[in-house]
Each structure stands twice: as C-alpha cells, then as structure tokens.
Amino acid sequence: MTPTLQRIASLRFGSLRLRIAVLYAALFAAVIAVIMIIVGQGIARFGENSATRDLAANARVFDEILDLRARQMRGAADVLSRDFGFREAVATDDRATIASALDSLRDRSRSSAAFVVGYDGSIIGSTGNMLPDSEKLWTPLDDGDERGVIRLGNDMALAAASPIEVPDLVGWLVVTQPLDKVEMDRLVELAAVDLNAEVMRTADMDQIMKSAPLGQVFERNDGDRFLYRISSLPALQDGLEPLLVLRHSLTGSLAEYNGLKWLLALLSVAGLALVIALSWRVARTITAPLRKLDEATRLVGEGRQVEVLVETNDEIGRLAGSFNSMIKAIDEREKRIIHVGLHDGLTSLPNRKLFVEQLAQALARRKEDDRLMVIYVDLDDFKVVNDTLGHPAGDALLRNVANHLQNQLQDATIARLGGDEFAILIDNVGPDESLASIARGVQACFMRSISIDGQQADCSASLGIAVAPGDGADGNTLMKHADLALYRAKREGKSGHHFFEPSLDEQARIRRQMELDLRQAIREGEFELYFQPLYSLSEERLKGFEALIRWQHPQLGQISPLEFIPLAEETGLILPIGEWVVREACHQASMWDDQLSVAVNVSPKQFTSPDLTGKILQAVASSGISPNRLELEITESIFIANVEKTMATLHSLRDLGVKIALDDFGTGYSSLSYLRSFPFDKVKIDRSFVTDLANGGNGHAIIRAITTLADALGMETLAEGVEEFDQLDILRREGCRNVQGFLLSKPMSASMVRQWMAGDAERNFRANAA
C-alpha cells in the first residue's frame, strides 16, 4: 500500500457525517479544480488565438494603411510631376523653381520632404530637408518602383515616387513621410487593437527577430509575453530591407480575461461551499437516524424500554422498524426467560427464587400489627406414588395439587420448591385471626382423594409453619424455620402441621452437627459392634448373638443408636454403616463356635438399596462363615413401599442361604399376611409384649398366640427384652423358643464375648438365669 493510500485509509473520522461531508467536498473540489485548470487553459488559448488573429488582421490593416498613405503621397506627387511648368523647370534644370515647387508640394501634401532625383543621378530637394543618397535610390526608381521605404538620415521614411517625363523620363519626384515613432503611433491609433509598430532595418535587428518567419505571428517573452509579426516593406532604396515590426502585448490582452477567471473562481468557491453545505445536510439525514439508533441501542443496553420513531420509508426507516421489532422480540424473550427462571416448569408456579423475592416484598410492606405466614408443605408418601404409578403419574399429581392450591388459596402466594415440596405465603394476617385455623384450612386443601389415570390416590401433606414477625424478620430465617417445622411435623407423623418453635432451631443445629460427626465416624472407624446373646429355651443353650452398633464419639462419649440411626437413615449414611456392620458381624462370627449364629439389623433404606444381596454375599464369603449362620433382621416397614420388589429381595437373600427374621413383630402395621407371604425363619416378639407380662396384663395370651402361629408356620420365635425371671417363666410356659435380654446378658464388646465364651458360656448363662 502506497503512503497516499495509507493516509486515506487512516482518514477515519469518528463521525460518519464529517467523513461523508469531507469526502464529497474533496471530490467536488477535485472536479472543480480540474474544470478550472481546463477552463483556465482554454481561456488562455482562446486569448492567445484571438490576440494572434487580431494581430494578423491588424497587420494586414496596417499594411493597407501604409499602402494607402503612400498612394496619397504618390497622388500628391503626381499632381506636381505632371505639371508642365514643373516639368519645364526640371527639364531646364531651373533649380530655384524646382526647389520652390518642392517646398510648395511638401506643405500642401503634409509631407516631410520632397525631392527630385534626376535621371542622371542629380538630386534636388525641398529646402531644409535632409536628402538621401540618390545613387541608392536610382536603381529602384529606374526599375519603376513607385512606393517604398527609404532612409533619411537615421530615420526611416515612407516614400512615393512619381516619374517626371518631358516627355522622356528625366527624373523622379519623390515625396516622403517619416516613419518615426510619432507617426507610427498616429498610424497605430487606426488599428483596432493596442499595437506597437516600428519600422526597422533587418540589419538593426537581433538574431531572434532576424530568423523569425515573415508574415507570421509568433510569441516572444521579454518579461511580459508579446506577440510579434514581422513583415517586409517595399524599399525604395538599395540594401535597406525595411521591416515592419508589430508588437502586441499578450500579457495585456490576457489580463482582460482575468476578470472572467476571477468570476469562475468565485463561482467555484460558491459551488464548493454549496456542496459542503448540501453534503453536510445529506450526511446528517443519514447519520441523524443512525445516531438515534445508537442512542436507542445504548438505552436498551441500560435496560430501558425504547422505541425508535420510524420517520421515513427508506432503508433507514426499515432499519428503525427492524430495530423496534428486534427490541420487542428481545423484550418478549427476556420476559420468557425471566418467567422460566422464576417459575417451575411443571406446575408453572413460582419457583424458590421468585418465592424468596415475593416473600421479601411482602415482608417489606407488612403492616405493624399484621402477621405473615410461611408454610412449607411436603406431600406425604409422594415417593410411593412415583414408585407405584410411575413418574408421569407423580407429575400429574403435582400439577393437580398445584392447580387445586391456586384455586383454593387465591390470596396466597404458592411456589413449588422442588420435588414434592411447596411453599405457601399468606400475608396480611390480622392480629385477631387464628393462625391454627388458617393452618387447618391449608391442611384441608391437601386432604383429598385424587384420581390419576383412573387410579385413586389418597393425598395428604405435612406442613411446617413459620410466622413473621415472631419467628423471624427476614425471608431466609422464616423459610429456614418453616423448613425445620416441616421436619418436625414429618417426624411427628404424617398429615399434620407444626408451628416453628425456637427449640427446633437448636435441635436442627445438633442434628447437623451429628451428621457431620457421623461422616467422620464412618471415616475414622468410630463404630464398634456389641453383641447380645440369644438363648434357646427349647435346647437350653446359647444359639448366637445379635450384633448391635455402638458409637464411641470422641467428645460426647457413647451415643445411643436410637439417636444416630434415624439420622443415618434420613441422610443415607445408613448404607455404608450397614455394610460395615454386616462385614464386621460376619468377621466376628468367624471366630466363634460354628454352632453360633450372628443376627444383624437391616434398615428399610438398606433393604431397598440395589446391591444389598451382593454386599451380603461379599461379607459372608470374605469372613468364611456358613451363610446360614447369618441372620438378617428386618422390620415390617419394608412391605409398605413395594411388596413385589420386597419379596424378590427376600427370596434372593434366602437363596444365599442366610436366615431372615421379622423384627419387632406385633408393632406397627403388623399384618399376618406378611407371615403368610414369606416364610420367615424367625419372628422376634417385640419387647413391649414381654414388658407387659410382668404387669399382669394379657400379654401372655398374645405371646401364646404368636408362638402357636409361628409353630404352625414352622417359624422360630424369640422374645426380646427379657429382664426378669417371671417373664422367662411365662415365655417358657407359653412356648417361646428363644429369649434375649438383660436377664441373660447385656450386649458385650467383641473381646468380652470371646472371654465370656472362653469362661464357659453355658455356665455363665445359667448363673445369670439362675
């Protein structure tokens, strides 16, 4: 790229308007400059040509004038030369007469001088005049020349000759007129243009003029520009070679066109100014809408609502229209995105984020005495619906619930927080209104039967309620407290509601800490298994041990399983804990007598974990014990969720060869159908029945019924929590095969078990029993 082009490329003004105006002006200025140069040259050439033509024409006129003048002189001379008296005077050489006649002629014809050249070479002139060299005149005269230039002294003169005949030629009468400056100037005045005329001898000229073509106009620069025309004049004298030099000032004649040039320049400047003004205006019509669009874009960038006025129907107008529709489209998309971002896709209810915002707004506008309720809702057993009827059914249920809520609680703000959790905001609750009745009303909204795909599902929900300002002034606190209340409500049983209490907060904190500690315990191996003996009444011998977990907390000391197992169950930590328990129990059992079995509790969550069978098999295999020495204790609750799946898992466990006991029999949902549906190896009678025995209740009847039933089904029975001899007696009498309890032994650590057995277990047991 050449430097010039780089410069042009770098000519990037910040303003498009300036750029357009400057480029247009520059273009027009260039065009005008070219035109001015062409016109200027044209004018100069025209001036030169017309000056040349004028000079040529005037030169011809001048020739004519000179010729005419000579003719006049000749005419005057003729008058005298024909006069007989004069002729006689010449013929008789009467010089005085001749001279007087010549004087008379000179005055009459306004000539400068007159003389007679005799044929014999003599010459007689008018008085007081210089005479030419007659010898030089003789030949031209003799040749019959009648007019021409001669030299008188140092001056050139026009001469006309008239022959004097008496009747033969005896001489010539010559009349002269000076061609000096005064006379030439007088002649020049007759010409149409300003001329300078001079008659010169060739010999007096410089070289340039000598070599100039005769009869043609040529230019010579002597400081100023001059046009010259040189023509030869007839000579009446030998060797004179007179030339007429006409000079015309070209500079002067061109100067006449300067006015025209100035006018053109003025017009150009005016035109340029007009173009600059117009291109500025044109540029503005282009850039003004662009600037508006630029401004509008900036405002849109700042998030403001803008509409550009569509003023024209051209490209710019269309651009403005497109801009407007673009802004509208962006606006709509933005709203949609915001809606998506702030609403739940399934139910179209506000999501957590929007709920938080609305809660904050509601809190901000809450009046002094008014209260505000934040209700967290969790649908009871939604998981069951999902598991049994499928996720589409679950989604339909959620939509149904959401619609119903919106219809029922039109003044409330309802949000879906995720899963089966909803949040409800009820504000403007007056000081006189009953919070409990509002809670019941909300609860009632969930208590209904919903038909999904033709199947009826009973719906209910647990509610946690936090009330501003009492339970917190800000949204976060209120929501956290509502959540805690919900947690409590859930734990207290389903289909209930719970208001937040400050103690919940403390419990939650403890619970969170415990969860952290549990995780550490799993990592650090802070668990230990204790074993409680299981004694067979029928065989009067130790049958095995039930493995019970103990947690030795580094700071808090021993923590009861009652405290941490539910938490582990909720958080899913029960899975790694349970796995460890099975492995450790099998490992300990491998060090015992082959006749002794080990019983391990399997929690519902653990039971439904997909690889339970694999884990059990692994534990048994790695410990090397016979599978039938491992006894898995499960509770009835596993039947609630998915009976078919539960049965499949039970059968696959049975196929491993492990024994399966039904724990806590007689509590909860206790249904005899469970006993029928699966052949448990053992039924563990809940301790509450055993405790009853000592109080003289009808516990022994129930125990008898259970043992009878178990015997009939071929299942063993075991009574838990045997603490007194009376209880043992009754159990023995009622046909219970096995017992477990403090009466026999407390749970012991693994090392104590080994000591205990080494010290004759039978004896120890009997000593205890006795």
């Binding site: 024909r82 007989f84 002729r87 006689e88 008789t92 014999d120 005949e165 008496v166 009747p167 033969d168």
Partner: protein
C-alpha cells in the same frame, strides 16, 4: 511628322541638320508640340485639325517631342549632319550605300537605348561592303 490617332506618325524621324519638319494635325483634337531637348528647344501652341506647324532643326542631336495635353504622345527626331544615316525597319535592318572606305564612326541611337544620350558609338573600318550586327540594350 503628322499627329494622328494621339500619336506622332512616324514616331521617329531622321532629318538632316537644318531641315524643317512639318507637323500636320490629322486628329480631330487639338495638339501642341514641345521640346526641351538641347538640340531644339521649342514650344508650339495648340492647333487644330488639318492645321500644320513647322519647325526647323539647325542643331544636330536628338529631339524628344511631346504634346502638352497628351502625355502619352512621344515623337523623336534625330538631327544628323551626315548623309549616311537612316532608320531601321521593323526587323532592325538598315543599309547605307556609298559610304567611303576607311575608318568610320558608327553611332546607334534609340529613344530607349540604355546609355547616356540614348546612343552608343563605335569605330569600324569600311572596305567595300560591310555587314555588321549590333546588339544594344533597351530600357
């Protein structure tokens, strides 16, 4: 020498010294005759038709005749004092008889002969008959 049709007729005349020449006017217009020649200087005033004027020429030489009112009229008279003179014919040929032998001067004259006095002279030796050709320049 007559004046006829605004011209002298004949235009050139050779006469002996002392001869008188008559100038009859045969034109219908009047003529005058003048001469400023050294050989014969005279003026004859206007005279009319069928009138005659005479003039004697006692001096040898060339005489140029003109008419005052008709500038174009020219007449030439050569006054000689020798019998051996004559005018050539239109072919420029002239013969003179009886010229004695011996040296002689031949003078050629023509009104427009390019030489002083319009004449040129040369010597010849005549022995019997002589034929000689002369060339002259005319104006």
């Amino acid at each position: 020498m007559a004046q006829k049709d605004l011209a002298f007729a004949p235009g050139t005349l050779v006469v002996a010294k002392g001869s008188s020449v008559a100038f009859p006017n045969l034109d219908r217009v009047r003529h005058s005759i003048y001469s400023f020649s050294k050989a014969a200087r005279f003026e004859i005033d206007l005279y009319g038709r069928d009138q005659t004027r005479s003039q004697s020429f006692p001096v040898t030489g060339s005489v140029s005749l003109g008419c005052k009112i008709h500038d174009t009229m020219r007449g030439y008279i050569r006054v000689v004092d020798t019998p051996y003179a004559g005018k050539t014919d239109h072919n420029g040929i002239m013969s003179v008889a009886g010229v004695p032998n011996g040296r002689a001067t031949v003078t050629l004259w023509h009104p427009r002969l390019r030489s002083p006095g319009n004449e040129s002279s040369s010597s010849v030796t005549i022995a019997g008959s002589l034929s000689k050709k002369y060339s002259v320049k005319l104006k």
